[in-house]
Symmetry: C3
């Protein structure tokens, strides 16, 4: 891969910043606007529309939702919450309403996060018609004391339209693919939304500049219904061509690294992420498929069975700001993005070289004649070449690069220079 | 299975109580009398006789032993021990004798349990002709001090006869069988004898009332020679038909639960008992085949290889009262029996449903339209449906119910309602 | 195997003592002289010569090196180091030289072990032409203070000649072989040189006296280039015939026992040494192939793949005296040799009997009629026969003796009497 730009973290951050304010949902103009911005960075991005009502496996593409305005006004005409200030204030997919109500009535459709008093929670009701508002538990308690009468207004529409997603294929020498999926359906949340698409477009541009043995496919889809829709059209092709796949979500903070395994935890992607993350960050958070929660659920579902792991910094659902208004642009950082980018670059470089290597001579090759070890033999001298010798010992044609790394207890990424060295000597 | 009767523990206890006083051995009228009483509860029980001298694998059915009387009388004509008071007082399979002896001579054929002073041990000599008595170590020491002359009388017979066992087959839709074995050869001991047959007849009656996919076979046999005899006639049929098998022994106390694995610990019965016992009683006692000691030795012998595990409360050999007069009706209890019955009922219910399930749709099914999860999406909402979702994730046609339970870390028994729910929705 | 002579340890020690003073290298007269002495003890030893320049896999047999004299003389004509006093003083394979030099110049070709001040290190430069001397770090520091001018003399020759090795084959009933390799290329070091050949000739003589199912092959070769040379001529035959192989190195001290696994740690030799060493010395040092360093590197190389483990007392590279003048005859002892001999004898006896055993009866055999267990049955009586019963349980035709030992948690060597007992009863 090309050397990383010193400013790469900041550049990714800026993309996230641009798409942050948009009100997205699983359908609607917010998704379209987001994809148009991403396309500015990645012109190869194609945008697809799937009509409402399309049957996708066990699901149906829902009607398209758009929301212009949503607020609660008191009798003094003051808006006590307003969608314009924070688009989490409206329950996702709310039906339109315009009604004066007593607080006691209104509060039945007000959602809060009782265990986190200060934040506005992110709540949706995609598949059952409801209207609703979200606010902080603190504000709700104040209103409980005050009572009164309020004007609840939602100017939204739910109409036949379509579900929108983006896709970008960067061809390589082979039709075998490395797959990257991220989602574009959450409103203004920074880590659990904007970080994934921002990193993905930056990574796609890097991939474009490198020599590619494999084809790379990036998809930008709404979560769940989007991945189901996408898979209903493409799963057979993906099953035939996918070498490894990554779901990128919550990749902008810099607290930890995490991965979620595939259903059986035994694919090349699992082995790759386990090794790379262990050596990048020995205490990284490892989750099995039992801890899943995002689109890896669909990619790994029975009958789909794609080798897709999720890669996060702090995993969705595991950090306090998750799915609240506190998941804002302060939570993500250039350093956080850069770390995620480095992990993905390491993964890609390893995949591009993950062959079964076989040493071309019987017994150990003579290293000193190739200047690969000292010609003086004295105790202590070998330690420096043990990594090289261990690589050679297990380069027996049975183990791919990942398996060699596992067997000899090394970072697979750090074996890449050895591969180059031995290729140069025609020893593999 | 049908709901358990509130009084089920007490009813089993009463059966144990009725057969407790009988003097049983590996042959003889005690076994016959016991089986006749069991047949009162389970009329389908058939009683089989195998003649003395029959060759059964490496063994020979021994002569039949019956004992009418056995006592030691002092010179004052007082019986210092009497078989009528406790049938453990006679060494099992004792030859007849009628002799006046000095204590120093007599004590050579008196058996005690030196590490447990108060109890009469249970000792036998089936395959070498001996006469002998058992008493408490305490009593023996008193006699050591006193000395004197004694009249040792055993009125027993060892004659050509037969070995007796009972069998009851309850047919199901399939000829594949679930097998339950228990033994009827110990004299008056409650947990390590009467508990097994008592539970077995109660369980057989329950099985009769339920819808049965599988056939159920209950055998009531003398230990070791009985199982060898039974297997010599039936092992090929059992090898072809047995799905899972249980040896019930020491199932009436309520101190703990135990299981003994099969020879390799990898059969469906092992997996079933491990899961069921772990969730019924997380600290249950798990024994490998190296700790075996009862008829699982024969069922699992090389060439026999049947999937039979032993299920106990306190395992034979592991509780202090084992094989002594202290294993009496105070050691077993209705609560103890009820617990064992519940475990067996859970095992049977799981076996009846232990299929490889396959979800009928691609990707995740839409749960909210089937009212299987809330239509409001907010963080924290999924925890409640994770068991259901996890079941679906591994219902990929590769895993039977037990394997799904192991993979998702759940009680297999608790997955049964999910199976019903998903069948009702035609999702599996 | 025959009973071990009480004096066996001392006899092996004496062989080591005889070959200790000789200056050996990977070629030359020191190797020849050593093999001639070993042949006095083992007349079947044949001596082979492979000409310099022969291509052996990735290597070439080097020119033959002989060294007559090597010393450093001060201006007073005193020899401050002299090869005659300790043959480690010359850098192995030094080119001839005869030069007066200032200390500052001379010290560039003087090797020491800086972390061990008192000892002369063992250093070589086989494959790059150099002249050099070795001395203690302490002496070097004194010379650093003193300075001065010195006469550095090495009377050596490096000429077309040959590489010499010895081999001894002791035929058995089968052409399948048990292989023992040791090396003869280090100058005066006791544990890491003389111990291996000394033990090997003693063991070979023992093997000659026993009934042999298998053929035994002992090789005495220079390390690395010798094993590569030997393998280049013999690897196909060895691949077809080797059942198990041992590299003997550092087998004369009595501090611990060690083994180095094969490349995948899964051969019969691995399983054998693991079991034997565990029961001889539960805290023995277990090394994986990642800790290799001697000829197991070649025997286990990709494409060679022979089941050769290394057996040591203190492993080469792991004890402080290793590759220094402190590895002298005080480091090895008759007790150390005897322990190693016992381990090798146990290994050989197990290999000679390591069949898959199958019990000849169905269900358990009746042990009491064969006097293999007591005919009185009372609790506690079985413990004594559990090893026998456990052996029988897993003698199902699937497990070799080693696997049975692993399964039942016993010393495989201690199962040999059971094998005899059961064979005598025709039960296996």
């Amino acid at each position: 891969m090309p050397e990383l730009d010193k400013e790469c973290g900041r550049r990714i951050y800026e993309i996230a910043e641009r798409i942050f304010p948009i009100n997205r949902s699983i359908t609607g103009n917010g998704v379209r606007k987001t994809l148009r911005i991403l396309k500015e960075y990645l012109p190869e991005l194609t945008i697809h529309e799937v009509p409402s009502g399309t049957e996708v496996f066990d699901w149906t593409v829902p009607q398209e939702w758009n929301c212009e305005e949503a607020y609660i006004e008191n009798e003094a005409g003051e808006r006590i919450i307003d969608f314009k200030e924070c688009n989490l204030h409206v329950l996702g997919y709310s039906l339109p309403m315009d009604e004066w109500m007593d607080w006691e009535e209104l509060k039945k459709i007000v959602y809060t996060q009782p265990d986190q008093e200060e934040v506005i929670p992110y709540v949706t009701s995609y598949y059952e018609g409801r209207s609703g508002f979200c606010m902080s538990e603190k504000q709700k308690r104040q209103l409980d004391e005050k009572g009164g009468r309020y004007h609840a207004v939602i100017k939204s529409s739910l109409t036949a339209g379509s579900l929108t997603y983006g896709e970008c294929v960067i061809p390589g020498e082979s039709e075998q693919e490395i797959f990257v999926s991220t989602y574009v359906c959450h409103p203004s949340m920074a880590n659990n939304e904007c970080s994934g698409p921002a990193l993905s477009v930056y990574l796609a541009n890097l991939v474009k500049t490198m020599h590619r043995r494999y084809t790379y496919r990036f998809v930008f889809i709404p979560e769940t219904i989007g991945s189901i829709t996408y898979l209903s059209k493409n799963y057979r092709y993906l099953q035939d061509h996918m070498l490894a796949g990554f779901l990128l979500s919550c990749v902008g903070d810099d607290r930890t690294y995490s991965m979620v395994e595939t259903r059986y935890g035994d694919t090349i992607t699992d082995r790759l992420l386990r090794n790379v993350l262990h050596y990048v960050s020995p205490g990284y958070c490892h989750y099995t498929f039992l801890d899943r929660g995002s689109d890896e659920r669909q990619y790994n579902a029975p009958g789909i069975d794609l080798p897709v792991c999720t890669f996060c910094r702090s995993k969705y659902g595991e950090y306090p700001e998750y799915h609240t208004s506190a998941d804002d642009l302060n939570l993500v950082s250039p350093a956080g993005f850069r770390g995620s980018l480095e992990v993905m670059c390491r993964c890609i470089e390893v995949l591009e070289h993950n062959d079964k290597y076989q040493i071309s001579v019987f017994c150990e090759p003579m290293l000193s004649k190739r200047k690969l070890q000292s010609s003086i033999s004295q105790k202590g001298n070998y330690a420096q070449v043990m990594r090289l010798r261990n690589f050679i010992a297990y380069a027996d044609g049975k183990n791919d690069l990942l398996r060699i790394a596992e067997r000899i207890g090394e970072s697979v990424y750090d074996l890449l220079p050895i591969v180059e060295e031995l290729k140069a000597c025609e020893l593999i």
